[in-house]
Amino acid sequence: MALFASLVVFLISNFVPGDPVLAQLGDILASDPVVVAQWRAKWGLDLPLWERYGIFLRGLLHGDLGQSIATRRPVLEDIVQFAPATVELATISFVMALALGIPLGIAAAIWRDSWIDALARVLSLVGVSAPTFWLAFIMLAIFYGWLGWAPGPGRLDPIAFPPEGPSGFFLFDTAWAGDWEGFADTLAHLILPAIVLAAATLGLITRTTRAAMLDCLQQDYVRVARAKGLRERVVILRHALRNALVPVVTLGGLAYANLLTGAVMTETIFAWPGLGRYTFRSAAALDFPAIMGITLVVSATYLLVNLLVDLSYAVLDPRVRR
């Protein structure tokens, strides 16, 4: 499927009116036919369509995604460089959304129609309805511009050196090197973009948890558990929640994959040097080798996440294990 996706991007890239020649060379150079022909030959754009796709596929088998037109570096190198920033951001957001959304959803289901239910509903509604880019502006304006509590855009203080580390995940690398000052700086820079990115996911997770919990709390086995005289806490956490988690995990898996792509807006505003910003820049520059590479990587991630979700059913639901 991921391969098909690359084929589609490939075909689209050749049938749309936009021409990378113009985007890359600028008006003046692009008006010179000799320069344009040379440039096309250099990037293989003069070859027939199928030959080019063949070259792309052959490269793929060797782990080569081709060269980015805009950065003039191998696409794979770009992706490997930018991915950790996005994965770090998306993971922190995801953890935040789960840590807040699941308890909120449970509480909203238990005390249905109470103030906490209303709060959960308003929060999830605003989370789903607010434009990410606007939320980012508001957060920056309040916590950076006005209150000065949070640092500005970027992954680190502008004067700080990026940590030398094995992974590219700054939290891990700074902790690994014992650089706690860098760790704190990284964490501080992460908080605002992570909250912004988490908003929509938080809304979805709260809604789903609440609906699933309401469903489970009405089931016979919950009534039996209560009739057996189990404590309410045990009934809710062990009997109801465990079953309610199945739809939450399904949605959560997809939501995590979406966070990786949803980072486009957040990263653009927070000057976050991750895949999202790379995607936007590649798209704006009509850098199709890069877009194809990103599509492949993201589609592969979707598949992987779906596999993990399927596997997690076995943990949550013993019936699947058979």
Binding site: M1, A2, F4, A5, V8, V9, I12, S13, V16, P17, G18, D113, L125, V126, V128, S129, A130, P131, T132, F133, W134, L135, F137, I138, L140, A141, Y144, G145, W146, A211, L214, T261, G262, V264, M265, T268, I269, T279, F280, A283, A284, A285, L286, F288, I291, I294, T295, V298, S299, Y302
Partner: protein, 272 residues
Amino acid sequence: MRRRLRRYGLAWAGAAIVLAWLLVALLAPWISPYPPNAVDVTQRLLLPSAAHWLGTDILGRDVLSRLLHGARISLLAGFSVVLLGAGIGTAIGILAAWLRGWGEEALMRLTDLVLCFPPIILALALAAALGIGTTNTIIAMLVVWWPKYARLARSLALVQRSQEYVEAATVLGLPQKRILLRHILPNIFGPIAVLCTLDLGIAILTFAGLSFLGLGVVPPAAEWGSMVSEGRELVEQWWVATFPGLAILTVVIGFNFLGDGLRDWLDPKAQR
């Protein structure tokens, strides 16, 4: 009963919000205090006041007037994407359910193919490739928008096809085409309309997002996403970016309320 009232109360509130914005979009040229693109650099970045209720932007344009005109582009883009997307998708889904065999297989594989894309990336790439402009952005969004409707329409049509009334119509000897258009289509209309309503909010958000990134409308058009973008650096002059964002938020909330209400109304079992 009280809960019921409150549930539909939210739906009515949503309908009121949507209606209000539709009116604003319709009447924008008459109710705006200033022309949306009237530049006056002597009046730039003014705080909200009696003369400029929502202040002025960096070129001295009245934020309120631009915001009211922005409703036109946002709603128009949202409705075009969703209605056309739903139309194309539903047609393909019903066609697939009607063709069966390899035709159905081919159409549904095509649908899966588009669905397996990360939609934002595809829309971004297409919008960039087609060039800036409202129509181009709508086209780019349409490409990623129709598949969910194709899937929904096909599964709904398949369910309807096994119903007795369709069998009766078949036995009566009505042509397949007539059964599909006159018998099945009206019966699958409800769920599709619900999806459309909930989708309108998402479409408006996506369009505003693409505009924010500079891939939507051509400046100086007054559009909410690009208005936020113009004010993004102006943290001190918070009103420039805050109000257009609030406009998007309220429209999307309105459609979400309305869509939730419609869903409950059409499917009382799902009500909670």
